[in-house]
């Protein structure tokens, strides 16, 4: 396993290398346990498929519910996979090493979050058209949904990282994480699922997409710092 470098310089030039180092490392580790990734994706698929069984196969109702269901399932899948971000490293002491490395911790965490999104969020985005067919969603709705998920799932990873760092090593970890993060997810859910509704109502997608985009920018800048602070708190 690659160890944290000790001779990198501590200036702004260390940010991107830091991101890349953490990204490459986490991707390698994630791809080694492909089965785990597959299981998480399967969870997503199963949850999405449960709703029609619980409600009705009636076409119009499903079409209305579809975006919401896919989004809620994405939230749940994100929650399920978030502990993976820090827990394994924390358990074997690597996280402390990472925190001590000369790379800025927010940069390293950004890399981890990016890896998390590539292995959790992106597959969800790519699966959306397939699952959308279960819900009788038409092409326009599916395209909107994919765009919304593309912008929204990174936000889920970014905000989720803060929660994962705060709850590192705590008892009741998973449910506690859900309680902390889900209220913060609500705006993403509203604007993400609402994008499809807006398109269907003829209002166009611009407003929702702009808000999601703005949210993504703010989260991308702020969340790594908050998560870094939370990691340091957990490690002390």
């Amino acid at each position: 396993m690659a160890t944290a470098p000790t001779s990198a310089s501590l200036d702004a030039g260390a940010v991107l290398p830091g991101v890349r180092w953490a990204l490459v490392r986490d991707m390698k580790l994630a791809l080694r346990s492909r089965a785990e990734l597959g299981v998480q994706l399967l969870f997503y698929i199963i949850v999405v498929s449960l709703f029609p069984l619980a409600t009705t196969p009636e076409r119009n109702l499903l079409a209305t519910m579809g975006p919401g269901v896919l989004w809620v399932a994405a939230l749940l899948a994100s929650l399920l996979s978030l502990p993976r971000l820090f827990a394994a490293d924390h358990a074997d002491g690597t996280l402390e090493q990472i925190a001590l490395s000369p790379y800025p911790l927010p940069a390293l965490i950004s890399g981890k979050i990016l890896a998390h999104w590539l292995t959790t969020g992106l597959p969800i985005v790519l699966l959306a058209p397939v699952l959308g067919f279960e819900y009788w969603m038409d092409g326009e709705a599916l395209a909107t949904l994919m765009l919304a998920l593309l912008l929204g799932t990174p936000i889920l990873s970014l905000l989720g990282a803060i929660g994962a760092a705060l709850t590192l090593g705590l008892r009741g970890g998973g449910s506690l994480l859900a309680l902390l993060i889900l209220p913060l997810y609500v705006p993403v859910l509203i604007f993400g699922a609402g994008a499809v509704d807006a398109v269907r109502a003829g209002l166009g997608v611009t407003a929702n997409v702009s808000l999601l985009g703005a949210g993504l920018l703010v989260a991308a800048v702020g969340a790594p710092f908050a998560a870094a602070a939370a990691v340091r708190i957990a490690l002390d």
């Binding site: 709850t167 008892r171 609500v186 705006p187 807006a198 708190i233």
Partner: protein, 248 residues
């Protein structure tokens, strides 16, 4: 400014007796204000044309809703002070605010529900304000749950400070998003807790009740912070020398 004086009070040992003196002042002020407010709200203010007497719930619903949001911001502010200056007392103040804030949110939700039933025919409607209050309740419970899950008080202080700051930043975003969602789905934007046109007396009553609620919250939180100080500093010399501790 004698900043040395202020720093004195940032130590639990000096703040403990000061808080003790402040509690009766705020408590009695709250009681008096509540008496006046209730007199206005239940007695003097005229019956509303549309909502009848049911609108009188406004005199607790609105103050509690305002307090629920205000207390969260104050809690986050104490958290920020703690992260900035590392004063234990700031963290303790934040810790003492959470339960009161959560209860204010609970009261706002329950009274809103009781108000909605006779006026709009339903105990719950997913309108913007009530939904935001619900999420605010979850935010409070989250901070309390996190505090409860962490054994080390120092880590708990810092984690809860970060969490409440992240929450505080998100509260306006959440409110805005819920409002957006609500107007999109209910054209005429029904509000479960829409206030009637406000006569001057109604407004005055609401304002006075808000101050009553605020002073009550201050009194209870000062009371609770004293308890927290006792719990957390229990082996220390100043606690041992307290009159109420030596008295047995």
């Amino acid at each position: 400014m004698a900043s040395g004086n202020w720093y004195r009070y940032s130590s639990p040992a000096t703040f403990y007796p000061l808080a003790g003196k402040m509690i009766p002042w705020f408590g009695w002020s709250a009681a008096v204000l509540a008496a006046i407010g209730l007199w206005i709200g239940l007695g003097i203010a005229p019956t509303d044309f549309q909502q009848g007497e049911a609108y009188r719930i406004i005199f607790i619903h609105v103050p509690s809703a305002w307090l629920s949001m205000f207390l969260y911001l104050v809690m986050a502010a104490w958290g920020a002070l703690f992260l900035g200056f590392n004063t234990r007392l700031s963290a303790m103040m934040a810790q003492s605010l959470a339960p009161t804030g959560a209860l204010m949110t609970f009261i706002a939700l329950v009274t809103g529900s009781f108000w909605g039933r006779p006026t709009w025919g339903t105990y719950w409607a997913w309108d913007a304000r009530m939904t935001s209050e619900l999420i605010l309740l979850f935010l409070y419970l989250g901070v309390m749950a996190l505090r409860n899950a962490i054994d080390d008080p120092r880590r708990a202080d810092r984690a809860c400070a970060v969490l409440s700051l992240v929450g505080a930043v998100n509260v306006p975003i959440i409110y805005f998003s819920v409002k957006w969602w609500n107007t999109l789905h209910q054209g005429s934007s029904v509000s479960l807790t829409a206030a009637p046109k406000m006569a001057m007396t109604m407004l005055t009553g609401m304002l006075i009740m808000s101050f009553a609620a605020w002073f009550y919250s201050i009194a209870v939180c000062l009371y609770r912070v004293r308890v927290i100080m006792l719990e957390r500093e229990r082996g220390s010399a100043w606690v041992g020398e307290l009159q109420e501790v030596e008295a047995r």
